[in-house]
Symmetry: C3
Subunit: 147 residues, 3 copies
């Protein structure tokens, strides 16, 4: 059947994506759990239901979780698109493994840095993931146009 599944590069890509999807989902769940723990809710009906307080916006830690989560998704979407294109382009497999591995490391460390308030590490890991996505997308588009 016409699947891409026979290549090791796809297996690596799938694993990287699955790990990052699960990490992002966990950040989303922690946000919800954090609201429940503080008993502060941005939806009025939640406050009524769970006997908490209705607030205009999440507190500092809640906002931080939202930002970390949003930053994840903002970067995972372009990476996933670029990575799918890279897989389709048939470009060099070892280089692809390098892109995927670097991105995974960058985003895991980025979440660590966000939660532990390490601004320099956060900036550097953000920048690394950003660069990987740009270079990989341009590489994939080039390979597809030349093929």
């Amino acid at each position: 059947m016409p699947y891409l599944s026979s290549t090791p590069l796809l297996a690596v890509f799938a694993t990287v994506c699955a790990v990052l999807v699960i990490k992002a989902q966990i950040l989303g769940a922690i946000t919800a759990a954090n609201r429940g723990r503080l008993k502060q809710f941005i939806n009025e009906e939640d406050a009524t239901w769970l006997g908490g307080q209705h607030v205009e916006a999440d507190g500092e830690q809640g906002q931080r979780l939202l930002r970390a989560h949003r930053n994840d998704l903002e970067n995972l979407l372009p990476f996933f698109i670029g990575g799918m294109l890279y897989l389709q382009s048939g470009a060099n497999s070892a280089v692809g493994m390098g892109y995927f591995g670097l991105f995974l490391a960058a985003r895991m460390l980025h979440t660590f840095a966000y939660m532990h308030r390490k601004p320099m590490l956060r900036r550097n890991t953000y920048t690394l993931g950003w660069l990987v996505t740009i270079v990989m997308s341009a590489h994939a588009a080039g390979a597809l146009l030349l093929s």
Copy 2:
């Protein structure tokens, strides 16, 4: 040609994604329509253009729409990535149909619950969609690594 299109699982996945994409797009459009109806705009030039008021942030109903929309996209992205991986993995088709159907039902009900302020249903449908995505992504990554 090397398309995936011959499998019924892909047709189901495509339909689920198309329905959820269109639902998310409609939420986005309602947000814009809501601003026009209230004549309250967060971009100054819109207020000038349409003779309305320039506000710092959307009102309660507008914020609710934004949250429902954002929640949709936050969950659709991981589902789409996990689903594509699942299709590529060649894992069991009936199980895949179950994942896709559950996710569709969960997200349709989630939007209903958000708009009708039913917090328990909203929490349960969010959790169901969340679990489907995690289990399906892990399932796909496992199948691809073992293949």
Copy 3:
């Protein structure tokens, strides 16, 4: 190997996605650069590190960048999903090129309109991209269900 890479439609899709991914990434980077320039940071540790001010929320220009970036991602995700489905569906290639070209033009002009505060152009290009995504997704789902 079972890649989609042999079709010109895929090459066009890849290029459109790569350009839009890179544009969205650049908007994200400008947001960060803007915070550094103003020395106003929403994370306390950044303010300490870079000797700036800790603020609750970004200023007007920062919020505008965030909104333009978020609007990009909110629309790129459904387009990418719909476009992948369209590629898989094997539907008409010339029509597909039309969808992809229209979407690219609409989203480039949308960012221009957002940054230059042209509300009518912004609304029209948003609506055009929105319509392309809906029509293309429905078209793809129809073609996949009938195939």
